[in-house]
């Protein structure tokens, strides 16, 4: 095999500094034609930054980038430049326009024209075709914001796949996808690979890396650890290379003690016929103290919607909520917060981070909102709290006063988690809490959830990763087509049972 000839893209000695952080230092990266190359590393290792300097979102401080077929080093000043070279990207933070239609989003910046006018007919027709490749059947003329994060992610991928001609870059594209969607994506990736494209794939899911990638490049703290062939690097070693140490044993997670005596636990929350038209059909649900309850279902089955009506993020239009034996009226999230609830939303960018505010302010905001306008925490208290949580969750930031938008995706997620942990709530809704969080920290968070439950706190856990839910949940609610169809408990909680139940036809249907 002529190795040099296969090389599509070569990055050498890449340096990138941000004020107070060295994001990349002398990093090399090589992408060959017809390969899927996983880029791995802990949160804040520099993966997204490497991609951003490649595609011109950020300017590089040093080093050079070469593309096959072009003699001199290339410099991309903007993502458009990169596109012109045949590089297309799905960024970690989706940069779609929520109020434009799905079709417009797919064709934005390259609208086909007829007689000088945008040819809507073609746009809509082609969009439909492009989406059908991923078996997504939605109304492409509706605004994008009508669809869930997962669908939006698929749309972004579909768009990038459609443009790409040489290199396709996917920065955590599967972070909110279910297994079915991941399968679809991998199918398409394999096809593109056959056509000779090079694909850069960033993810924190080890299992996906081993399923799809040919090669792995590992970064740690902005430094290159090495490049490996996937088949020759066992996952234990991969993790060790990413973290610089061995991963704690997962078996320390022990939810079994929790499950005992569940029956005689006090009830904390009860939903009677709670629902919202078009979002989630009326459901009954009871949550005990010290319980971790999982919500499981396919994409669009109403997982997030169920949790949202409980917290009042969406106001329910039927039913009632009983909190500690008394009826609780939630007109706005603040009512739920005052009662002792917390809610970590699914969409970090849209509903989680307050981008220009500092890490400190982002951590303190919910606590401060609950305390009220006139009870401003002193700067010193705020700093103490902030530092404690930066430490606890190992948030990687050069200072507590940097705007949260400058943190890496995973670290932003940790900040939002810190925001709610700080409240010491009795009931926590965690919608995809470990999205974009690296392997090591993920286990830490799962441990934390179980610790909280041990202390008598209740947690509602939503994740598209069934394995993760199995690890922490003691009971699972099954949803199908925006309706609750059953519950699984104890020994019934197996991967198979859950899969069968969410797909339909399980024996636990309530009817």
């Amino acid at each position: 095999m002529n190795k040099e000839k296969d090389v599509l893209l070569k990055m050498r000695g890449i340096d990138k500094k941000f004020p107070g952080v060295v994001a990349l230092s002398k990093v090399d990266f090589t992408l060959r034609s017809g390969e899927i190359h996983a880029l791995m590393g802990e949160n804040g290792a520099g993966k997204s930054t490497l991609i951003k300097v490649l595609t011109g979102v950020e300017e590089l401080d040093g080093g050079e980038i070469r593309l096959s077929g072009i003699d001199s080093p290339i410099i991309n000043k903007s993502p458009q430049d990169a596109q012109a070279y045949g590089i297309s990207t799905v960024y970690q933070e989706l940069n779609l326009c929520p109020n434009l239609s799905v079709a417009e989003n797919i064709f934005i910046g390259r609208e086909p024209k007829r007689a000088g006018r945008i040819d809507w007919k073609t746009i809509n027709k082609k969009s439909k075709e492009i989406l059908e490749k991923f078996q997504i059947y939605i109304d492409e003329t509706k605004p994008l914001e009508n669809y869930s994060v997962a669908i939006q992610q698929m749309i972004a991928i579909a768009r990038a796949v459609d443009i790409s001609s040489k290199v396709l870059i996917l920065d955590e594209p599967t972070s909110s996808l279910d297994e079915q969607e991941v399968d679809k994506l991998f199918e398409v990736m394999r096809q593109l690979k056959q056509q000779g494209l090079g694909i850069i794939f960033v993810t924190h899911y080890l299992e996906q890396v081993y399923r799809i990638s040919d090669r792995i490049t590992v970064l740690r703290n902005g430094l290159l650890v090495g490049e490996y062939e996937t088949s020759k690097l066992p996952s234990v070693q991969l993790v060790a290379k990413m973290m610089g140490k061995e991963l704690d044993d997962l078996s320390t997670l022990n939810k079994d003690t929790l499950q005992e005596h569940m029956e005689d636990r006090e009830e904390l929350l009860e939903a009677n016929n709670l629902g919202r038209l078009g979002r989630i059909k009326p459901f009954n649900l009871c949550i005990h103290k010290g319980e971790v309850i999982g919500i499981s279902g396919l994409l669009g089955s109403g997982r997030s919607e169920l949790s949202r009506v409980i917290y009042g993020a969406d106001k329910p239009d039927t039913g009632e909520l009983i909190w500690k034996g008394k009826r609780l009226t939630v007109n706005a999230p603040i009512d739920a917060m005052k009662a002792g609830m917390a809610y970590l939303p699914e969409s970090r960018i849209d509903e989680g981070i307050i981008s220009d505010l500092s890490v400190r302010e982002n951590i303190m905001i919910a606590f401060q909102a609950k305390r009220g306008l006139f009870h401003l925490l002193s700067k010193k208290e705020q700093e103490e709290y902030t530092d404690r949580y930066i430490d606890l969750l190992q948030i990687k930031t050069s200072d507590r006063e940097v705007p949260i938008k400058q943190l890496s995706g995973g670290n932003q997620q940790k900040v939002i988690l810190a925001r709610w942990l700080l409240m010491n709530p009795e009931f926590m809704i965690l919608d995809e809490p470990t999205r974009g969080i690296d392997v090591g920290t993920k286990t830490e968070i799962q441990k934390l959830v179980l610790q909280l439950a041990e202390k008598g706190k209740s947690i509602m856990f939503i994740s598209s990763e069934i394995e993760e839910m199995l690890r922490v949940c003691s009971r699972m609610v099954i949803l199908r087509d925006t309706a609750k169809v059953g519950e699984l408990e104890g020994s019934e909680l197996t991967q198979n049972n859950i899969m069968r139940a969410i797909a339909g036809g399980g024996k636990h249907d309530e009817g």
């Binding site: 300017e59 410099i75 000043k77 917290y311 993020a313 706005a332 999230p333 603040i334 917060m337 005052k338 809610y343 939303p345 849209d350 509903e351 989680g352 981070i353 307050i354 981008s355 220009d356 505010l357 302010e361 303190m364 905001i365 919910a366 401060q368 909102a369 609950k370 305390r371 009220g372 306008l373 006139f374 009870h375 401003l376 925001r419």
Partner: protein, 353 residues
């Protein structure tokens, strides 16, 4: 050497660097043109001089800019009705004092009339706030209503006349209080600024407003009432416009509904922009806006001093606005950088040959 560079970098990165530089440039040009520019003298028991004049004249702009800063921060929009609203406030106060005829006697206590005027401004602000926060109308469109209708309302109140208050006491607010050498507007502006800053510093209001302005969905989920805070910032802007209206009318001891506070909303928005505040909302700096307001007034005063007539003034201001906007544009910075880069590359290539 390294240290000097670092210090320089820190100074230029400071959020007030840009507004202070603007102000400094305007002042230095003035100093060159008019060597007596900084001279302040005591005449008839009051302070005179260009600087005093600038500070005095910028008072109402500072007050409006404070309100505008919070509107911009909390809603990512601007309140273009403040000029018209200050005219309404002035009309209400003067009508309350003298009725629909110029006069030298008051119909009601002066304090009460001022209170009514300021209150009228607040009501106008609350109306804007209702449109933006509750009905979710675009801020520009929502405040356009009072921008056009406001002066009409003021006309209705004054019944189309220019009403004069021929009483010495009425001039105090916009000029001097006997025995005090400093113009009263400066005191009023100072009080407004101090109270606002105190409230922002001592309560969580500043944090809330920023959070709502940056991401209202996230703000709602952490328990903030986004609607309420949006409503409040517009009401506050109306209050500020009311206070400014009091100064404007007192300066000329009359209300001319068509011309009181004309075009001042544009200066207020510009002051916020020069202050280094992003017009798309979020993080804000009151100090920046104040410096911005003083800069604009200094510019106006110096242009007048250079014999530029009132009709030509907007042209010169426009030029300054273009320059400022260009300096702040990140796109332009990128372009300059990329040019620089190209230059370096070509030089390297030449070396290589």
């Amino acid at each position: 050497m390294m240290k000097v560079k670092q210090v320089l970098k820190r100074v230029t990165k400071h959020s007030l660097f840009f507004p202070l530089t603007c102000l400094a440039i305007v002042l230095i040009i003035n100093l060159i043109k008019t060597p007596t520019f900084f001279r302040i003298s005591l005449n008839n028991g009051v302070l005179y001089g260009y600087m005093m004049d600038i500070l005095n004249r910028s008072s109402e702009l500072i007050i409006l800019a404070v309100g505008m800063t919070l509107v911009v921060a909390g809603s990512g929009g601007t309140d273009i009705s403040v000029g018209a609203v200050s005219s309404v406030a002035g009309a209400v106060t003067i009508f309350a004092l003298v009725g629909s005829m110029s006069s030298d006697t008051y119909r009601m206590p002066y304090g009460l009339a001022v209170l009514l005027g300021v209150l009228a401004g607040m009501v106008c602000g609350a109306f804007n706030g209702f449109l933006v926060a509750k009905l979710r109308i675009q801020p520009m469109v929502a405040t356009l209503i009072l921008f056009t209708a406001g002066r009409g309302i003021a006309q209705v109140i004054t019944q189309g006349f220019i009403l004069y208050v021929r009483k010495e006491q009425f001039k105090y607010l916009g000029n001097f209080i006997p025995g005090v050498p400093i113009p009263t507007p400066i005191f009023i502006a100072t009080i407004v600024v101090v109270i606002t800053v105190l409230i922002l510093k001592k309560t969580a209001l500043g944090l809330y407003i920023q959070a709502v302005g940056i991401n209202s969905k996230a703000a709602r989920l952490v328990g903030l009432n986004s609607t309420l805070f949006t409503f409040l910032v517009y009401t506050f802007s109306g209050l500020c416009a009311g206070i400014a209206g009091m100064i404007i009318t007192s300066r000329v001891y009359s209300i001319d509904a068509n011309n009181a506070g004309l075009n001042i909303e544009l200066d207020a928005i510009l002051a916020v922009a020069i202050g280094g505040n992003s017009l798309s909302g979020g993080k804000f700096s009151i100090a920046g806006s104040i410096i911005g307001a003083i800069t604009i007034q200094a510019l106006t005063t110096s242009l007048y001093a250079m014999k530029v007539t009132a009709d030509q003034l907007p042209v010169y201001k426009a030029i300054v606005v273009i320059i400022i906007v260009m300096i702040q544009s990140t796109e332009l910075k990128r372009m300059v950088k990329s040019l620089h880069h190209k230059f370096l590359c070509s030089r390297e290539r030449r070396w290589a040959k």
